[in-house]
Every structure is written in structure tokens, then in C-alpha cells.
């Protein structure tokens, strides 16, 4: 359960509280509560486990401002310890530069000013899709396609950068 749901719940918590670092602590708290509850009461619908965990995570995030002391008596330490500990990667500062470099390349490779403006309005100013289409004279399909292609190209550029970083780090070892 921990292995399967850690990453997703971690993202969910980070989105709720806006802090990835703190979300990791809350993730441990979420699993602690879930494991304790499931030990006492079996889930009536096992297929609803994802929703069940989500509910617990949201409540944990909601109470994040409050300080609670919990005694870990009877806790399955090995399960909690199995939660991945995401220390900043050695090349995290490089990864940020890679992201920026990839974004610049995407913008430079878009010859149509309107497409660049689409990305700017949608991702930076959080403008609504319908509003952007109306103001720029676009149809829905074109809008989706510009986003899809930008993301696809971004993904490939990042993958390529990661390969180079991994190669460099393995050579430096």
C-alpha cells in the first residue's frame, strides 16, 4: 500500500498545503492513520481504498496547522520506513536549469506568436481556455494540440537532459 500510494498521496498533500517538504511529513502521518484505522476496521469496499486514503490525506492537510502528538505505539515501523525519502537530488540545481533550458527551447521553436501567447496566457496568467480561444481566434482542437505538443516536446527535452546528467554523474563517480 505504501509503495503504491506514496507518490500520489505526496502530490495531493503538496497541492493542498503548497509545500513539498512539509507534505512528506504529512504523508507519513497519513499512512500512520490509515494503517491504524484499517487494522481496527476492515474496509467494506476494498476497491475504494484510493478514495479512503485521499479522504484521510485531505483531513491531515486540513489539520496541518495544528500540532498533534501521536504515540507510535504498535506502529508498523517498517511500513512507514518504506515511504521513499526524497532528498534533494545531487543535481537538483542542474535539473532546474534543465527545465528552464527546455522551456526556452520550446518557446524558440514556436514560430507562431499566437501559440506562444497561448502558453503564456494559460500557464502564467491562468486564463480560461474558452477565453483564450475567443480572444486569439482559435478552435478548441488547435488549443489542445498546441498544449499537447508543447508538453510532448518538453518531456523529450527533459528526458534528453536527464540522460546527459546521468551520464555526467556516472563519469564523475
Amino acid at each position: 500500500m505504501v509503495g503504491r500510494y506514496s507518490r500520489g498521496l505526496g502530490y495531493l498533500l503538496a497541492h493542498q498545503i503548497g509545500d513539498h517538504e512539509r507534505a512528506r511529513d504529512l504523508l507519513q502521518e497519513t499512512f500512520y492513520i490509515a494503517i491504524e484505522k484499517l487494522r481496527k476496521t476492515e474496509l467494506k469496499k476494498p476497491e475504494r481504498l484510493a478514495g479512503y486514503l485521499r479522504g484521510i490525506a485531505l483531513r491531515v492537510a486540513l489539520n496541518a496547522g495544528r500540532r498533534r502528538k501521536r504515540e507510535p505505539a504498535g506502529l508498523d515501523i517498517s511500513a512507514i520506513a518504506a515511504i521513499p525519502h526524497n532528498e534533494p537530488r545531487q543535481f537538483q540545481h542542474v535539473a532546474s536549469k534543465e527545465t528552464l533550458s527546455a522551456v526556452r527551447k520550446i518557446l524558440q521553436s514556436m514560430p507562431v506568436k499566437r501559440d506562444r501567447e497561448l502558453l503564456t496566457r494559460f500557464y502564467i496568467y491562468d486564463q480560461d481556455k474558452q477565453e483564450i480561444c475567443r480572444e486569439l481566434g482559435l478552435n478548441s482542437l488547435h488549443f489542445n494540440r498546441v498544449l499537447f505538443r508543447a508538453k510532448n516536446r518538453f518531456r523529450k527535452l527533459l528526458e534528453k537532459s536527464t540522460e546527459v546528467s546521468d551520464f555526467m554523474s556516472s563519469n564523475n563517480d
Binding site: D126, N139, N144, F154
Partner: protein
């Protein structure tokens, strides 16, 4: 909430914008707890969003010049607001290989190999007029550039005669958009006899069982004309 819904309704991006409905949020977050690909998608969107915000705070960037000048023309023509009301026709513009592939002209290169003349023809559909001809010449290689409107990862292209019940004459699966984000359909110049044809583009996706699913995207008619 399935993958198609998430893609079509830009759920990942709208989640980051906090513009999903309460029901959509609940369904999306529930799926997010276990769907590793969805988490990857969210991570990518977040990084793109953060990268764009940081990039636009910097000194202006320059746009790479388009080598042929046709990219802007195609994009503006195809996506102009007047598109919906415009007449439709298939516009074929022939570009010689000497511009893009062999600046010294076709023929025997210095390494002794015979260079095959290649013609690159963008197929653009604008509603309205009659189809313009696409010249097929034996002994040459023809590359049709087809702009697609789908957002699939890959495509299947089929060419058949424009008549009921016609069998495919040429087909290629798992094609990826390349030059100018179009599909480059390459074939021998002598493949098609004179007459009307239709080029069909289908988007390719995969079901949960791993089966390929083909979704019709567009038909592009054109007229094959033999070279004089």
C-alpha cells in the same frame, strides 16, 4: 474519470489552476493516488508551468528563423479565424529537394551514390475549391506533409483511391509528427496512377488491454497527376 476525459478536458492543467469542479477534483485526486502515469503528467505540467513563469521573467528570447518560410504561412492559413467560412481545396506546393535536402542539385554525389530526387509537398485542406494536382514522377521520392489536428502520440496514414470500397494502396502505422509538426508521408513517385485519391489520418491510442485503438481524424483528398 478515464484517460480520454482527462486529456480532452485538460484536467491536469485545470487542477493546477484550481478550476476543476468539486466532483472533478474528487475523481482526479482519487486516481492520482495510484496512477503513476497521471502523476508523471502532473509533474510535467507543473514543471512546464514553473519553467514558463520563470522564463518570461527574463530578457527577451529570439525565435529561430523558419528555413523555408512556409511554417508561418501554413499555420496562419490553416488556423486563421476565417477558416470556418473559407472555401475548401487541396493546395499542393511543390518544393524541390535541392532547397532542403541537396543544395547542389540531384544526381551523382561526390561519394559516387545516386541521389534520388525528392519532392516535398505540403497537403493543406481549406474548405472550398477543387483539388489541386500532386505530381507523381517515377524515379523520384515524394514526401507529402500532412498537418494533423489530433493530439495523439502517433498516427496511422492510409492512401486509397477516392471511390467507394477502394482498398488501401499505401498504409503506415505509428507515425510520429516530424517536420513542422506534420506527418511526413514518403513514397516512391511512381506509386500512384493518375486519378483522385484520399489520404486518411487516424490517431492511435492503446486500450487498457493493450489493444490498439484507431480514431478517425481527417480525410485529405488530392489528385494524382503524372509528370509531363
Amino acid at each position: 474519470m478515464n484517460e480520454k476525459y482527462i486529456e480532452l478536458h485538460l484536467v491536469v492543467d485545470r487542477y493546477l489552476q484550481d478550476t476543476l469542479s468539486a466532483g472533478e477534483v474528487a475523481e482526479f485526486e482519487e486516481r492520482l493516488t495510484w496512477d503513476q502515469e497521471l502523476i508523471d503528467e502532473l509533474d510535467l505540467a507543473e514543471r512546464l508551468r514553473d519553467g514558463l513563469r520563470e522564463a518570461t521573467g527574463e530578457v527577451s528570447y529570439t525565435v529561430a528563423a523558419d528555413r523555408t518560410g512556409i511554417g508561418n504561412w501554413l499555420s496562419n492559413l490553416f488556423f486563421a479565424p476565417q477558416y470556418a467560412a473559407a472555401a475548401s481545396f487541396v493546395l499542393a506546393v511543390s518544393l524541390t529537394a535541392g532547397v532542403l535536402l541537396n543544395p547542389f542539385g540531384a544526381g551523382r554525389g561526390t561519394d559516387g551514390f545516386q541521389a534520388t530526387p525528392t519532392e516535398i509537398v505540403p497537403l493543406v485542406v481549406v474548405r472550398g475549391a477543387t483539388a489541386s494536382p500532386v505530381v507523381f514522377s517515377p524515379g523520384t521520392q515524394l514526401v507529402l506533409l500532412v498537418d494533423v489536428t489530433g493530439s495523439h502520440a502517433s498516427y496511422r496514414v492510409t492512401i486509397r483511391a477516392d471511390q467507394p470500397g477502394a482498398s488501401p494502396l499505401w498504409t503506415h502505422d505509428d507515425m510520429l509528427p516530424t517536420y513542422l509538426e506534420s506527418l511526413a508521408v514518403s513514397m516512391p513517385g511512381g506509386l500512384l496512377e493518375a486519378g483522385p485519391y484520399v489520404l486518411t489520418v487516424e490517431g492511435v491510442s492503446t486500450s487498457d488491454d493493450g489493444e490498439k485503438i484507431y480514431e478517425h481524424i481527417q480525410n485529405t483528398p488530392f489528385e494524382s497527376v503524372p509528370a509531363e
